[in-house]
Amino acid sequence: MPDYTLRVNGAQRTVRTDADTPLLYVLRNDFELNGPKYGCGMAQCGACTVHIDGRAARSCVTPVSSLAGKAVTTLEGIGTPDKPHPLQKAFLDEQAAQCGYCTNGMIMAAKALLDSKPNPAVADIKNALNGNLCRCGSHNRIVRAVQRAAGVKA
């Protein structure tokens, strides 16, 4: 098995695995990051969303070998409990979850939106998150949280 060196949340990390190993398992198991979640493994739900070079990507279908020279950012990389990203804070302020399993994907997809469109309309937010599934029905709170974070950023 070859070694792959990845840049994750600003640090260089090396992992020995097969070329086709999905990034998701490397992040969760080798680098012990909890943010990205397994939901479907088929790019259908968004639970595993991370950023690759600033764009939202589904880590469950991203082979580890495709990441040479690219920067991977996870939920852990955008803020911490003590220094939360405005989106993380807004999700808390709006209590925008029930079980919270989808939360990682929602925040990471929303961050990609706000990075490119700091003042999105509600329809922009819904469209940007439409491929991220939530089964608990927290959608409206999530939209409000993204609006709130956009307001903070503006």
Partner: protein, 744 residues
């Protein structure tokens, strides 16, 4: 970064209880002598005070509950209750939940019971603990108890003061609770009734360890199962040797039709499972019922036990003319559709089994594991760790058994076994398909004088310990020596199961409810949020609407004229008012087709009261969209208003998704729902605007609200579609094809 991760891991282990503390636990209900006085809620079966509350030496308090967090916010609500009774701040209270080694046994976390049962226990236990601490302080300070006041654990009688933590050593909670100390009246609540933020959210928004999926143990390996292609397929051959030779593979478990693998790395386990699946040869037969509309003709003929749920004596002949009305409604099999497939971590070491699980009942799970694995319950510890929202009995218990089976061949190494998306969709127990036949008689004054509700349904509870004549685990049925499946039992009224909410709360003088309880289960079923209530309320409240329209009466007024219960009336009136209900508004025919409908239920006829008004649009292609939902809810004394709103709102959105989109698909041989592509659910662009209005009743008991909006939502949508189109949708889900067939 490494430091942070280690801290996370330590925190996780602390939270999920690898460290087993020692203190007394009351035995299960069976050992409680018959003569003792009953105690409130969960205290009755777990009578030792120190099983519920402890004063720690480090200025904190620990409380214990047998209920678990399943995304409903129960641990936050219970902490509010404990903090208020004890007079300490919310932050001082640590809560330990659902662990067979550490907490009271409160059975399953189901049926919107938790605040009522565990909340009642904690209110009384904490009130008693507080009184005992005050009594000790009063003695020590030589001040009468009435003169003492408490603020955040500091007891004062000026100028003297001491804290709970000073006096705790002199108070012995190792005794039975008496429940003789009255919990505080609502007027004295400081934390109860406040929208306290959820205690589990900070970790969830920042990548902290929060779920069983996030548990990592030293030496842990990864497991996957390979299920048969269909329910009753049998394994002919499989190339175990080739799979064993794959990189990282530690074990290939084969026992009858049960196949699983464990590997050093997760992706290796997945590849090994794929290889195993590819090499397996199965025999299967087309033994599933027909699907679609034909299913219900089949269902009616399936062997059933007939049960009279309610029968009032025939009305004395009124002599007047009556109109007879009839209608049938159907609901297909529907999936829990948890976003995270089920997962468990298991370790078998020195003859002891430890399982971390998102099961809704760690004690029932332990009991079932003990029987299935022929181990003593004392040799098994089941500890709750959160999973993705489950909404009932999904694969949680099955995967715990799978993990335990695999753990047996790992020489003490722990295994994390997560189902793949396909495993969850194809093998979880669905919410039962149901057929409802309604009949009513209306007298000349447009009053309903007779009501009949007939149900065809499978079981709504095939959980562990639902019937000790069998074993509830999927994997156990696949073994060489297969376990017997439990015989289905219908939960009795007043909660009911298949018949849940089939008994109308309306004042109909004659009410007859009949259940054809179908004992065959060609498609696997169990508990899905609300059990039978979703379909029964759909039928009951759609039928009310149909009759109101046939009688030329306004749906809100028609309901109110049949309803004396003041709390039910209040939510119906409030939902109508907040939604801007216009009596007798006939929207259909307008372009675009817009409609509005109302529906009501008191969940189980004994939990929260909830009325929902739904607004819909229906386009020419039959595409229905819910644009707005307004709910009014009475959940008695509200512990956490934002928590109640969150659950009602989430329930409305989920129920609307079931209603417009969802049905499990199968052909004559296999379940064909295998991924989200086969089972679409609501996404952001489908979700309506939702408003929830609460009626707080501080002097009433708190009532469960977690499942309260499932039933009213489906019926409100059905009624709104009827209002928009003039055509009545009676077969769920209301897909564009079905609605199109109605309107053209």
């Amino acid at each position: 970064m490494q430091t942070t991760l280690n801290t996370n891991r330590r925190q996780f282990l602390k939270r999920t209880g690898v460290i087993v503390s020692t203190f007394t636990l009351a035995g299960p209900a069976a050992v409680v002598p018959q003569t003792v006085a009953p105690l409130p809620g969960g205290l009755n079966a777990n009578r030792m005070l120190d099983g519920w509350v402890r004063i720690n030496s480090n200025n904190t308090v620990t409380v214990f509950t047998g209920k678990c967090e399943i995304g409903q916010g129960i641990l936050t609500a219970l902490t509010q209750i404990a903090a208020d009774e004890l007079d300490v701040t919310y932050e001082r209270v640590e809560i330990i939940s659902a662990d067979t080694a550490r907490t009271p046994n409160e059975g399953m976390t189901v049926g919107s019971f938790s605040v009522e049962q565990s909340g009642a226990a904690l209110r009384f236990a904490c009130a008693e603990a507080r009184a005992m601490l005050l009594a000790a302080a009063s003695k020590k300070l030589n001040v009468a108890m009435e003169k003492l006041s408490v603020n955040d654990g500091t007891i004062s009688a000026s100028p003297a003061r001491m804290t709970y933590w000073d006096i705790a050593k002199e108070v012995n909670f190792k005794r039975e609770a008496t429940a003789t100390f009255k919990p505080k009246p609502a007027a004295q609540h400081k934390i109860i009734g406040k929208p306290v933020p959820r205690r589990d959210f900070p970790a969830k928004v920042s990548g902290g360890a929060a779920f069983v999926q996030d548990l990592r143990l030293p030496g842990m390996v990864f497991g996957r199962v390979v299920r048969p292609p269909s329910y009753r397929a049998t394994l002919q051959s499989v190339d175990e040797a080739a799979v064993k030779a794959l990189p990282g593979v530690i074990t290939v478990a084969r026992d009858g039709n049960f196949l699983a693998v464990a590997a050093e790395r997760e992706e290796q386990a997945i590849k090994a499972a794929q290889a195993l699946r590819a090499s397996a040869r199965w025999t299967e037969a087309p033994d599933l019922p027909p699907s679609g509309g034909a299913f219900f003709d089949h269902m009616r003929k399936m062997p059933a036990r007939d049960m009279v749920i309610k029968a009032t004596s025939p009305a004395t002949a009124s002599g007047g003319k009556v109109t007879s009305v009839e209608a049938e409604y159907t609901r297909p099999y529907q999936s829990h559709g948890s976003i995270g497939p089920s997962c468990a971590v298991a370790q078998m070491k020195d003859g002891k089994l430890q399982v971390w699980t998102h099961s809704q009942g760690v004690f029932p799970l332990r009991a079932e594991l003990s029987r299935a694995l022929r181990m003593k319950p004392a040799d098994i510890v089941c500890t709750h760790a959160e999973g993705s929202g489950c909404y009932g009995h999904n694969g949680a218990d099955d995967v715990a058994f799978d993990a335990a089976l695999v753990a047996r061949s790992l020489n003490g190494r722990p295994v994390k076994l997560q189902w793949m998306r396909e495993d969850e969709f194809a093998w979880e127990p669905y919410g039962s398909a149901m057929l409802l036949k309604m009949h009513a008689l209306l007298d000349e004054s447009k009053q309903i004088v007779s009501w009949q509700h007939e149900i065809w349904s499978h079981s709504h509870n095939m959980r562990p310990t639902s019937n000790p004549d069998g074993i509830a685990f999927l994997g156990s049925w696949h073994l060489t020596d297969p376990a017997r499946r439990p015989t289905p039992v219908n939960g009795p009224q007043p909660n009911g199961a298949a018949d849940r909410n089939a008994v109308p709360l309306y004042d109909f003088p004659r009410q007859n409810v009949l259940l054809h309880f179908i004992t065959d289960m060609p498609v696997r079923v169990s508990a899905l949020r609300g059990l039978g209530a979703y379909a029964n309320v759909f039928a009951l409240e759609s039928f009310m609407d149909e009759i109101a329209l046939a009688a030329g009466e306004d749906p809100v007024a028609f309901r109110l004229k049949h309803m004396k219960n003041p709390r039910a009336r209040a939510v119906i009136e409030m939902a109508a008012e907040k939604a801007g209900w216009k009596p007798n508004a006939k929207n259909y025919g307008a372009a675009p087709n817009i409609g509005r409908g109302i529906a009501f239920a008191q969940y189980k006829n004994l939990a929260c009261y909830c009325a929902v008004v739904a607004d819909v649009t229906v386009d020419r292609n039959g595409m229905a969209k819910v644009t707005r939902a307004v709910a009014a809810v009475d959940a008695g004394l509200i512990i956490n208003p934002d928590g109640v709103i969150n659950q009602i709102e989430g329930g409305i959105i989920q129920s609307a998704s079931w209603t417009l989109k969802e049905q499990v698909k199968f052909d004559r041989q296999r379940i064909t729902t295998r991924s989200w592509a086969d089972y679409p659910i609501f996404t952001f662009n489908d979700v309506p605007q939702v408003e929830v209005h609460l009626i707080n009743r501080p002097d009433e008991r708190p009532l469960g609200a977690g499942e309260g909006s499932q039933g009213p939502t489906v019926a409100a949508i059905a009624n709104a579609i009827a209002n928009a189109t003039g055509k009545r949708p009676r077969d769920l889900p209301f897909t564009p094809e079905k609605i199109r067939a109605l309107i053209v």
